[in-house]
């Protein structure tokens, strides 16, 4: 399928397509593979099937079995072999089928992937991307709806990002693959094929930096910070709040490690209030870190404590209950109300 190419203002050709997050990722992977033949894709069912979410659709067909590897059913193997391939000079992009299945590979991530650059005093680079479809809302069975990103954000040596819209998805995956550090790339699986989120993506644009947060909506009453699938919830909440004349500033974190909280600090200095939203359980998590840093940096600006709207501190429940478990518009607004009333 070829996309419309037209001349940009400055005469260079631009290529703008209306894409879902899933398709934007797919094209991002394709672009990265075209740009550098050291980029290889590894994972379970990523070949003929195109991955269970079809994010790698068509890539094996076009790039062959040595660049798109249907691997053995072995996550430690996927990461461990990727580490070895990276030592050899490859740039592996690993797909973990669902976030709940990353744990067999956790040891290789923590012990080798995160540490080899340090251990080798910089001689070994680890340009490995681990793509992780994460989060709930798809009505799935156990282990298919979790949000383990905080575990990785806690591990020095890793970088962790999450996208929330098609343009970011496209550019962030390309930038992550170009990054010489290991990047955990969390993808909001329930939004992969959301038609409502379809948006124009300029696949020839010059993207902003990868490790930067982004203010998606400005406001004055309170700040809401979110990432991945929760960004949509935050934006929806802001729209709803606007009807009650509450003006919410919404920030998409984008980078979970290193955190880029400067835009959040700035916003909180203006609004005096912050609500952090995440599907993950709250204990010792990313939202804890946000609260900890904001209370320190904005001590005199805060008019209410940083509040968190998160998944509960329970295992992910049976999906019939996930609408209750996941932060939604109402819970975000409730927190905003509590903040405003503090």
């Amino acid at each position: 399928m070829s996309a419309p190419t037209k001349a940009g203002v400055d005469g260079t050709s631009t290529n703008v397509q209306n894409l879902t997050i899933g398709k934007a990722l797919n094209l991002g992977l394709r672009a990265a593979m075209e740009a550098d033949d050291k980029v290889i894709i590894m994972g379970e069912d990523v070949g003929k099937l195109g991955g269970v979410f079809r994010i790698t659709d068509g890539l094996q067909k076009d790039f062959g079995e040595q660049r798109v590897l249907d691997t053995p059913l072995s996550e430690s193997g996927i990461i461990g072999a990727a580490v070895g391939l990276a030592v050899r000079g490859f740039r592996p992009v690993c797909e973990i089928q669902f976030e709940g299945f990353i744990f067999p590979g956790f040891d290789q991530i923590v012990s080798q992937l995160a540490k080899l650059h340090y251990r080798s005093q910089g001689r070994i680079k680890m340009p490995v991307v681990i793509r992780v479809p994460f989060g709930g809302g798809i009505g799935a069975v156990e282990h298919h709806s979790e949000s383990p990103e905080s575990l990785f954000a806690h591990v020095p040596g890793l970088k962790v990002v999450s996208c929330s819209n098609p343009a970011d998805a496209h550019w962030m995956i390309r930038q992550a693959i170009e990054c010489d550090d290991p990047v955990l790339f969390f993808e909001p699986k329930k939004l992969y094929h959301s038609g409502a989120l379809k948006a124009p993506v300029d696949t020839t644009a010059t993207p902003g930096p990868l490790f930067a947060s982004s203010v998606l909506r400005t406001g004055t009453s309170a700040t809401v910070v979110a990432y991945g699938p929760s960004v949509k919830v935050a934006l929806d909440a802001a729209t709803a709040a606007a009807e009650d004349d509450i003006s919410l500033e919404v920030i998409d974190l984008r980078t979970l490690s290193p955190l880029d909280l400067d835009p959040v600090f700035e916003s909180v200095r203006k609004t005096g209030r912050l609500v952090a939203v995440s599907e993950a359980s709250s204990e010792s998590s990313l939202t804890s870190e946000i609260a900890a840093r904001v209370q320190q940096e904005c001590f005199y600006s805060l008019e209410a404590p940083v509040l968190r709207v998160t998944g509960f501190d329970t295992p992910y429940p049976p999906a019939k209950l996930e609408e209750y478990f996941l932060p939604d518009l109402d819970r975000v607004l409730d927190a905003v109300d509590r903040s405003l009333a503090w």
Binding site: E44, T71, P72, V141, F312, D313, P315, L321, D334
Partner: protein
């Protein structure tokens, strides 16, 4: 045609290896992988045509299987298949979030399941609805998982049937540990001994946990039967992506017996599993069984196998149907007449209708369930979280009520 040494040579030093990347021409016949034959080492007591094959080693293990007992095995398989198809259909109708079909694996599951005794324990993966049935777990108790209203609610102890395990390979180690416990309690050593059976797929054999389960069971002489249902596919990946060798030969490297049985032969599966359990009961475990079978349907209801496999393969395997061969044998040997088959079909119809009825009327769990049973001894923070959330929810109800 596959053979014992399908993709390799066994000993070093002579001639080049036949490597996985270059399968021999015979291995790839017109796009059809050479996996529909189990090879010369396949144990089979009943051919696809319903012919009884005699085996000096395994016949004694099914000496008690008379016409009546064979009828029962047939009935089990028909009912299990019917339950499977009904659940599959209910998923299509939106009553289940997902279904994991076992179509084609009835013999492997019923045969191995019926080999167990009450004191034995099964550690299933997520496709073992047929085993569940033989352990007395009502199909209805399985539905909650796939309707996503629970994560497995049966009484595992009463049935000797552990909760389903979705993370590939985990249960193999859990089973090894459980079997060590059977041994530590002195429940192993004679024919009254207890044993454990754990189920996993061909894909699972690549996981570290399966290996570690093999190591632990071997060094602790744990009474565990590793029952690998090689259904030829791990979602879209054929067995060649996991191994060069037939999987039952994996046991060779650990020092316990590995055996390949026709997984579509319920009699063979029963005999071989009984034998393996017998070994375990006496303290000669573990044992690996590879049940050579085929996943006739999609991986799950969300899967689309047309993307990765040819329908030829399916056609080939249809000729080896696990139920048809027993029907043929029963009929030919006069163990059953048409009335019997009709009666079983009618029973299956009733079974399916009940299942349907149950499923359509399953209530959703209350939100409070989110917080239940996270800890056996509670957690004050979680209690507070629960309380706050439930009163927040109650607020909505009040508001709704107030209007």
């Amino acid at each position: 045609m596959s053979s014992d040494e399908q993709w390799t040579r066994p000993e070093p030093g002579e001639g080049p290896a036949v490597v996985a990347g270059q399968p021999s021409p015979e291995q790839v016949i017109a796009g059809l992988r050479a996996t529909s034959e189990g090879g010369s080492d396949l144990t089979q007591l009943l051919t696809p045509e319903g012919q009884r094959v005699h085996s000096p080693q395994f016949d004694p293990y099914v000496a008690d299987i008379d016409g009546k007992a064979l009828q029962d095995l047939y009935r089990d398989m028909v009912i299990v298949r019917r339950g499977d198809r009904e659940a599959n259909a209910m998923q299509r109708q939106g009553q289940l979030g997902i279904w994991v079909p076992l179509l084609g694996q009835e013999a492997a599951q019923v045969g191995s399941g019926r080999a167990m005794k009450p004191g034995d324990m099964a550690f299933p993966s997520y496709r073992e609805h047929g085993v569940a049935y033989t352990r007395g777990v009502d199909f209805r108790e399985l539905l909650g998982i796939f309707r996503c209203s629970d994560q497995g609610g049966w009484d595992f102890k009463k049935h000797g049937f552990h909760p389903y395990t979705i993370v590939i390979g985990n249960q193999v180690l859990n089973a090894a540990g459980y079997a060590m416990g059977q041994k530590f309690e002195g429940k192993v050593g004679d024919e009254d001994g207890q044993a454990t059976v754990t189920y996993f797929g061909d894909g699972a054999t690549s996981q570290g946990d399966v290996h570690e389960g093999f190591v632990w069971a071997a060094v602790y002489d744990a009474p565990v039967v590793f029952f690998c249902q090689n259904n030829q596919w791990a979602i879209s990946e054929p067995t060649e992506r996991q191994s060069r060798l037939p999987l039952y030969q994996r046991a060779r490297g650990y020092g316990f017996p590995g055996i390949r049985v026709d997984g579509n032969d319920v009699l063979g599966c029963l005999a071989v599993t009984r034998w393996a359990l017998e070994e375990c009961r006496h303290g000669n475990g573990p044992v690996l069984i590879e049940a050579f079978t085929y996943r006739m349907d999609a991986h799950t209801t969300t899967d689309d196998p047309t993307r990765y496999r040819l329908s030829d393969e399916l056609e080939e395997w249809k000729l080896k149907d696990p139920i048809e061969r027993v029907r043929a044998y029963l009929a030919r040997s006069g163990f059953a007449d048409q009335a019997f088959f009709d009666e079983v079909d009618a029973e299956a119809d009733r079974f399916a209708a009940e299942l349907r009825d149950y499923c359509f009327n399953m209530p959703d769990p209350p939100p409070s369930r989110i917080f239940d049973n996270v800890y056996a001894e509670g957690n004050p923070l979680l209690d507070k979280q629960r309380e706050e959330y439930l009163s927040y929810l109650a607020g909505f109800a009040e508001t709704a009520g107030g209007h």
